[in-house]
Each structure stands twice: as structure tokens, then as C-alpha cells.
């Protein structure tokens, strides 16, 4: 084992189910202490990837290592896992469930009881410790599961769609907790199809589409390198000058427009045209592209259609009607 190996490393990992290829030749590296988002539309292979990291599925090809060593040896004590399908023992009392899940990961019962009680207090479930899990709402169950996931103080958290099924208020609570863990140096790998969330939380992103990795980079660097591509525009007056060979697409965003430029498109040309046309330019800003836009650029609009669905405000293309009537076409 290399004590300084990355928290997660996948090398050439592939997985097939019958004829369907779920994950194809995937390389992924999550350095220690980093929050990494695994992004992609439904069915793109996120959960399969995570299950292979957790040893629930075995890759047909390729290798998995955690902290530079054999994953089977470190997983139990150093990794916390929240699966997408969140099972519970419904008849158990909340605290008992947490203690049990701590116990099988090597935490003593007394310690698990103490930590579990703290966790319940912290997430506003103090009065529910002795209630059966089945009496809790889904959101509350999810909190209990999260407490159990971190009961053994893992160095690496692997969360599969941790925010799905939570109302906005609780999403914020969970986000805060994740940020808290990040501040303490915990490595976090989580999958999501919510680009907004990923943008807020991640330092690194890995985009998957159709079983293949399309992008794997540091989010800040990625945004910087993609910066040239998007102009935020506000103006009054004529608008015929907007369209041109440099502009690939126009989107509504932030109360104005986003012009997405073609590869190597010259933004100065657009500005000149606008001035000549007599428009009053209120804002002309080279912006950081949104993660969604980057994803669309790399994976194609079809793939992003799923992944971007919840992002109606920034994601819908100019001139396209609401999704309902759009689907009928």
C-alpha cells in the first residue's frame, strides 16, 4: 500500500450486463481531501461505477484501488457508503439501526451509540432515536442513513445521489454537512444529475455519458479554460445583429442572454456589429460557462437533455417552447 496514493483510482474499468455495456474503459482518480462529482444523465453508468468501487460489483476488466491499496482491506473501516437505493431495517429503532451499522464497521457499541445520538441531535431527530425507522418520513430516513454512513468516521465518503428525495430545505442541510466534511479534509465522491449542486460543492468533476467518460478535470481549471466560449449580454434596441457565424447558440440566462460561441469565434466582431447596429449595450461579459453548458458542449445536447432537465432556468434553448409542448413535436 502506498500511504500517499489517491483516495480512489480506477484504471481501465469496464462492466457489461449481458450485451449492455454499463461502464467502458473508465479511468478515474480522486485525490485525497477533494470533493469530486460524478455527473451524468440517468443510465450513464454512475451507479455501476460506484458499486464497483464499493466491491458490490466486480469489474470485468480493469482495477480499483483505494488509498493506493487493496480496496477490500480498507473499505470497511475507512469508507462510508450511501447507496442510491436506500435500504433500512424498517422494524428497527433508529438508534439501534445506526449502532448496528457502526458495529459491523468496527465501532464499539458504546461509541456508536454516542456518535449516533450526536448525529440525530444535529440533524434535528433527537426525539426519534427510539422510534421505529418505518415511522419516519423518507427524508428523515435518509438523514438516519446519512448518520449511519459516517458513524465510523470514514476518510472517504461515497454518496450515490445523496440529494435525491430531499426537499430543498433538507438539501441545504445536507449540503452544509457535506461542506463541513470537506472542511475537515474528508474525501468525497458523489454522483448526481443536478449540475447546480455539483457546481456549488465540487472541486473536481467527472462527466460520464453513455458508459464513457467525457471529461475529468478540476472544476476551476475547467471553467477557466472554457471561459472564452460564453458571453453574457444585456442590451436595448435592435437585436438582428446577434446572430452571426461566431454564435453557435443563444440561451436566456440571468435576465439576459448567453451567447455560446463557436470554436474560435471572435467576440469582438459581435460587439462591433452591435454598436454599428445602434443597440445600447448594457452588459457584455465573458462569463464562466455553467457546468451544464460545458457538459452539453462535450457530451452533446441529447445526453444533457436528461442531465440538465431540472435546470429549466438556464438550460432551455432560445426560441424553444416549454418542454411540455416541445415533447409533442
Amino acid at each position: 500500500m502506498h500511504p500517499d496514493g489517491p483516495a480512489v483510482r480506477l484504471r481501465g474499468v469496464s462492466k457489461r450486463f449481458g450485451k449492455r455495456i454499463a461502464v467502458s474503459d473508465l479511468d478515474l482518480e480522486v485525490p485525497r481531501g477533494v470533493v469530486c462529482g460524478l455527473l451524468g444523465p440517468n443510465g450513464s453508468g454512475k451507479t455501476t461505477t460506484i458499486r464497483m468501487i464499493m466491491g458490490i460489483l466486480h469489474p470485468d476488466e480493469g482495477s480499483v484501488s483505494l488509498f493506493g491499496g487493496d480496496p477490500d482491506l480498507v473499505r470497511r473501516a475507512r469508507v462510508g457508503y450511501l447507496p442510491e437505493e436506500r435500504g433500512v431495517y424498517r422494524k428497527m429503532k433508529c438508534l439501534d439501526l445506526i449502532i448496528f451499522l457502526g458495529e459491523i464497521r468496527g465501532v464499539s457499541r458504546a461509541e456508536a451509540r454516542r456518535r449516533g445520538g450526536d448525529g440525530l441531535d444535529r440533524l434535528g431527530l433527537a426525539g426519534w432515536a427510539d422510534r421505529k425507522v418505518e415511522d419516519l418520513s423518507k427524508g428523515m430516513q435518509q438523514k438516519v442513513q446519512f448518520i449511519a454512513t459516517v458513524i465510523h468516521g470514514p476518510e472517504l465518503l461515497i454518496l450515490d445521489e445523496p440529494f435525491s428525495g430531499l426537499d430543498p430545505l433538507n438539501q441545504d442541510v445536507l449540503e452544509e454537512i457535506v461542506l463541513d466534511f470537506r472542511a475537515r479534509g474528508t474525501t468525497i465522491l458523489f454522483s448526481t444529475h443536478l449540475m447546480d449542486q455539483a457546481e456549488r460543492l465540487c472541486e473536481r468533476v467527472c462527466l460520464i455519458s453513455n458508459a464513457r467518460k467525457v471529461l475529468d478535470a478540476d472544476l476551476a481549471e475547467l471553467k477557466a479554460s472554457e471561459r472564452k466560449g460564453v458571453i453574457a449580454l444585456e442590451f436595448s434596441g435592435p437585436d438582428h445583429w446577434i446572430g452571426g457565424p461566431e454564435v453557435a447558440r443563444v440561451e436566456r440566462a440571468d435576465g439576459g442572454l448567453h451567447l455560446i460561441l463557436t470554436e474560435g469565434g471572435d467576440h469582438q466582431a459581435i460587439l462591433r456589429r452591435g454598436v454599428e447596429a445602434g443597440a445600447e449595450i448594457l452588459r457584455f461579459d465573458l462569463v464562466e460557462p455553467r457546468l451544464h453548458e460545458i457538459f452539453v458542449r462535450h457530451a452533446g445536447a441529447d445526453a444533457a437533455g436528461d442531465a440538465g432537465a431540472p435546470l429549466a432556468t438556464s438550460g432551455r434553448r432560445e426560441g424553444q417552447p416549454a418542454p411540455v409542448s416541445g415533447g409533442a413535436r
Binding site: R51, M54, L57, Y81, P83, G87, V88, K91, E103, I104
Partner: protein, 416 residues
């Protein structure tokens, strides 16, 4: 490390089950039900008919009363003697109407020669009462007739005695053949093995369908989880049977005598104590249960792991139920002739052993070496089943979708 895991699973499984309402109800209700089944009818029958059991006997023959009275008392009647006179019948009718006696019987010449008599009563006595009365009269008449000829009537009427001297060494069992113990025990084994093995299957299936298993398996090996489940359920079964055993022992040692003291008429219950198995048989019974449970629970755990829904599991467990039903079908002939080659062969097949070997032992006697051999074979089977079932479990527990075909199962076993 491993044992801590397994211990956590065992503890969870055990406590969850023992704390459940169903466990408490079934544990307490079963013995109560058994007690009720035996005791209550007798108790009620005895206590509700006090006046009716009062009977006067008019013995016109002059020789039957003593014998008959003893017999009737044993059968639950209270007898009083009334001398024969021309007014006796009228007087007794009046007393019956007043409710002093339940009825009266008159014995005459026909009683001596044919065992016939007339019972006068306001209400029709129940069939059991009629039967005890009738047979008591017939026995008394017969005993009288036999003794006149110098025959030992008491011995004859008991049914004589047939001593059995075995010429072969086959039957070395120390206990006498006791059909009820053999048959009821075999059936009880069938039930408890099935109930608890199915409990293991359900627990496995529940973990699988609720998806909790994904979290658990990421923290421990599937094989440990399976072991923990089985041991946990075994613990529950021991607790339950322990409660039954203790309450059974208390019932026979304390309950029965006090019942008899309070209700002398229930004396016939004492025969029951003769039917109860001794300590040796009980130990063997527990042995058969333990091995039977571990064999079948392994198989049932594998079935639970390979299915995704309750319905699927119902179908998939069919072969296993058959394996338990076959010995039940054979248990009668095996008890009756425990040392035929067929009985020997079938009872040595490990999956049939618990029920059939029990039937043979309780039913008559089996050479000790065969009992020893059957336990060795069962122990080997437990290990073999654990190996195969553990592999099926490991692959199946995380599978969703269609139930595997037999070739697929075989691949799981080979590749796991």
C-alpha cells in the same frame, strides 16, 4: 474482526425477533394451546356434571356391586348402593326428580348372563358416560362369570401380557416402542425445521428487497452475513423451544400433581406422563433439530438470496418443502418396522435423517452405530451445504431481476 461482524448480525437478528409481538404470542400461546387441548375438556366435563355423576345402583343379583362400584368410581361416577325392594324404583325415581342423583341402574339376571342392564335417567347421559357405564357393567359380569370358573379375571381383562424376546441384536434401543412419541415428535421436527428455515429465507429476502444488504455487504463478507442470520434464527428457535420445554417440565412435575389433587377425577391424565419422552430421547430430538435446521436453513438462505420477490421464493422453495414432506410420508411405515433395509437406507439420507431416524429410534430401536453414522453424515452435509449455499448466497444477494436457471446457479457455485 470477523466474529465481531457475525456477532453484530446475530445479536440484531435475535433481538429483533425475540422482541417482536409474534414471538411472544407464539411462544406463550403454543403451550397454553396444548394444555388447553388436553386439560380443559376433561376439566369442564368433570366439573359441570356433578349431580349427573351421582348414580344409585340396585343390585338384584347380589354379587356384582363391589366390582362394579370400584370400576365406576374410576370412570368418574359416584356410586351409592340401594337394596332391592319392590318400592326401590319408585323411591329412586323421586330422588332423581329432586336432583339428588343423576340416575340409577338396575342389575338383574340378564346382567349376569348377557351384561345387559337398564339405566334410568332424567337426561340422556353423554356418550362417554354411557360407554364407561356399559363397559363397567359388562366387565363386572364377565369377571364374575370367569371367577366362578377359577380364572384370573383381572389379568385377563387387562388384556393379558405378551413378552417380546428379541432374537437379533437389531433392537438395542432401551426405550419401549412408543408410537405417539415417535409420530408426534417426527411431525414436530418437520414443523420447527420448516418454520425456522423459512424464517431464514424470509429474512434474507427482506434484506434483499429492501436493499439494506448493499450497505451491509459493503462492510462485511456475504458469508458472514449468512452465518450470522442462521445463527441468530437458531438462537431464537432455541429460546422458543426452551420456553416450551421448561413449561412442559413444569406442567408435568408441578402442574399435573396439583391438578390431580384439586380434581381427583382427572386422574386418567397421569397416563400422559408415561407417554412423555425421557431425557435421552429429548437430547436426540434436539440433536436432530439442530442438524436439520442447519442443513435446511442453509438451503433456504440460498433460495432467499436467489429470488427477488416473495412469489418467486414461494415457487423456488418447492423442492425443499418436498425434501421435508417425503420423510413425513414414509414416517409411518418406518416407525412400524424400523429395521427394514428401506427404513435404514432412507433414514441415513442426511436430509431425511432428522425425521426418519427420530421415527425409528422413538418407534423401536436402532443400532447405536447407525445413529452415530447418521450424525456424522448430517455434519458433513451441513458443511457441504454451507459451502454451496454460501456461494449461491454471495452472488445472489446482490442480484436483481430474474431468478437464475439451474445452469446459472451452477456457474455461481463454480465461479464464486
Amino acid at each position: 474482526m470477523m466474529w465481531r461482524n457475525v456477532r453484530a448480525v446475530v445479536r440484531r437478528e435475535y433481538l429483533q425477533r425475540v422482541r417482536s409481538k409474534w414471538f411472544v404470542i407464539s411462544t406463550v400461546a403454543a403451550p397454553l394451546f396444548m394444555v388447553g387441548l388436553f386439560v380443559l375438556p376433561i376439566y369442564f366435563a368433570e366439573s359441570s356434571e356433578r349431580a349427573e355423576r351421582e348414580v344409585a345402583v340396585v343390585d338384584a343379583t347380589g354379587v356384582l356391586y363391589d366390582r362394579l362400584a370400584a370400576d365406576l368410581e374410576e370412570g368418574g361416577w359416584r356410586v351409592q348402593r340401594v337394596e332391592w325392594s319392590s318400592t326401590a324404583q319408585v323411591e329412586l325415581e323421586r330422588r332423581a326428580e329432586l336432583g339428588e342423583i343423576g340416575g340409577f341402574v338396575i342389575l338383574d339376571e340378564r346382567t349376569l348372563s348377557a351384561g345387559e342392564a337398564t339405566f334410568y335417567s332424567l337426561s340422556r347421559p353423554n356418550s362417554l358416560r354411557r360407554l364407561t357405564m356399559r363397559s363397567a357393567i359388562a366387565r363386572a359380569a364377565m369377571a364374575h362369570a370367569l371367577e366362578e370358573r377359577g380364572v384370573d379375571a383381572a389379568s385377563m381383562l387387562r388384556g393379558g401380557d405378551l413378552r417380546v424376546e428379541l432374537l437379533s441384536e437389531a433392537g438395542t434401543g432401551t426405550e419401549d416402542p412408543r408410537f405417539i412419541v415417535a409420530y408426534a415428535g417426527a411431525f414436530f421436527l418437520y414443523m420447527v425445521i420448516l418454520i425456522y428455515a423459512v424464517a431464514v429465507m424470509r429474512a434474507t429476502l427482506e434484506e434483499k428487497t429492501s436493499r439494506i444488504v448493499e450497505v451491509v455487504i459493503s462492510s462485511m463478507q456475504p458469508w458472514h452475513l449468512m452465518l450470522g442470520k442462521i445463527v441468530g434464527v437458531a438462537g431464537v428457535s432455541f429460546t422458543q423451544m426452551g420456553v416450551w420445554l421448561v413449561s412442559g417440565v413444569l406442567l408435568t412435575t408441578l402442574g399435573l400433581p396439583s391438578l390431580i389433587a384439586a380434581q381427583p377425577d382427572a386422574l386418567q391424565l397421569v397416563d400422559l406422563a408415561d407417554v412423555l419422552p425421557g431425557a435421552g430421547l429429548l437430547t436426540l430430538f434436539l440433536g436432530f433439530f439442530v442438524f436439520g435446521f442447519f442443513m435446511y436453513s442453509g438451503l433456504y438462505a440460498a433460495v432467499g438470496a436467489m429470488c427477488s420477490t416473495e412469489e418467486e421464493a414461494q415457487q423456488a422453495q418447492f423442492p425443499l418443502v418436498m425434501l421435508l414432506v417425503v420423510p413425513i410420508i414414509f414416517v409411518l411405515p418406518v416407525i412400524e418396522s424400523p429395521n427394514t433395509p428401506m427404513a435404514t437406507g432412507l433414514s441415513l439420507f442426511p436430509l431425511f435423517t432428522p425425521i426418519l431416524m427420530w421415527g425409528r429410534i422413538a418407534g423401536g430401536g436402532v443400532p447405536a452405530w447407525q445413529i452415530a453414522l447418521s450424525f456424522v453424515l448430517m455434519a458433513a452435509s451441513v458443511l457441504a451445504i454451507a459451502w454451496v449455499a454460501g456461494r449461491i448466497y454471495k452472488t445472489g444477494i446482490l442480484m436483481t431481476g430474474k431468478r437464475p436457471t439451474l445452469p446459472e446457479l451452477w456457474r455461481w457455485v463454480r465461479e464464486a
